[in-house]
Symmetry: C2
Subunit: 262 residues, 2 copies
Amino acid sequence: MPGSGTDRTRPPSEAAAPVIILVEPQLAENIGMCARAMANFGLSEMRLVAPRDGWPTGGGLKKGATSAASGATHILDNARLFPDAAAAIADLNYVLATTARERGQMKRVVTPAEVMPPLAERVSGGERVGILFGRERIGLTNEEISFADAILTFPVNPTFASLNLAQAVLLTGYEWFKATGGEPPFRENNSSPPASRATVLSMFDYLEAELDRCGFFPAGKKPVMTANLRDILHRLEMTEQEARTLRGVFKSLAEGPRVRRE
Amino acid sequence: MPGSGTDRTRPPSEAAAPVIILVEPQLAENIGMCARAMANFGLSEMRLVAPRDGWPTGGGLKKGATSAASGATHILDNARLFPDAAAAIADLNYVLATTARERGQMKRVVTPAEVMPPLAERVSGGERVGILFGRERIGLTNEEISFADAILTFPVNPTFASLNLAQAVLLTGYEWFKATGGEPPFRENNSSPPASRATVLSMFDYLEAELDRCGFFPAGKKPVMTANLRDILHRLEMTEQEARTLRGVFKSLAEGPRVRRE
């Protein structure tokens, strides 16, 4: 049960990230999908303010959330419950409130892409920061927004602006992950180095000699056609391996069908 | 039915955006959630390659998708059906293939944030571009990936890397929207201009005179305490209206309880 028993010490990398605070979430499935979105981007600390159907006493509720979390159950297991938003943010130093609509407040308005780099600086300087997300349909109350240092909102098509709760958490986590150096899971698989110019020129020489032999170049046209061909092939920016592969392709075409050795 | 009857002419703003191509999507709900994510970020052209349960002949299928689309039904209504990925990209000039795992191909690997600005340039130069998204569990085949110019992948926590289909479309659309000048739905509501220095200094004078009157400053401490107080209040970077509000607050405190006029 949250808060009871032995407190698992979070690894520093996980502790040093914004807390995601869901205020009166209505649907267990949404809580689970938020946990999943958090896990995707290295956020681990979830706080729940008075979930409509209780937590975790509603066994069915937590089961629905766990199913939607697709394995991010450590986040649900460690989620802490608070009676109201003020209690949920009491230990934090800096708080953002998410809203989709203008709320008539004088507060600074920021997008995730704008705020995450300075937020990461606060976190690495030892501040505890949190982000409030409101109820599915009606969002945060004006009083809850008044607790925050700034308003977080999302760039979204004004004619179709409905982001659901988990999508808002996803975009928030995504920008946090990017701002803290998050990298894609893999990059180019070019174990072969770029082709040396000698390899490329030797491939050109071979190709042009074979084309000459085949009568490819009309009289007087060889210089300009050769230049065009080299332009096309240079554009490939081949690796050493690719240059060898292409040379093999030209050779195979030039030599024609081989007798198979059975 | 897609492709039959009168073709609705798309407005140029909507046509000039990447085509989202879902290859053999399994669940109607996912198709609907992808449509919703597309609508959030101004993408409108969806193509479906051989959805597992047919389209739109499965009436229940389309109903499930429509429900998950939360109003983005124009996208589902205009979705075009193709027998395979090659047919779905035949009219396009530039194609990305999304994958979550290294696939042993030599192709360039890009993230949404990296690729969307150059993709927007291609689109504004008249190219038609498309992005292939694979099956929910197994993604795209190696052959389907080979159709693409580059691989699109997402920066994501390597220990919890499962993005679902609609989340991948959401992040793609989000970066497209940002790269094409998408703005948040509102900004600061500061109709009041920044306070003039005269207003701020006059507020300081009033406050310090009242504090003097109340005996707030210990003997000899007034200069340093005044400087500290001014540091705190300057940090507010007040608007003209806020400076007046704060002055009213100090005045009300200094004057004490007023007799109410009933």
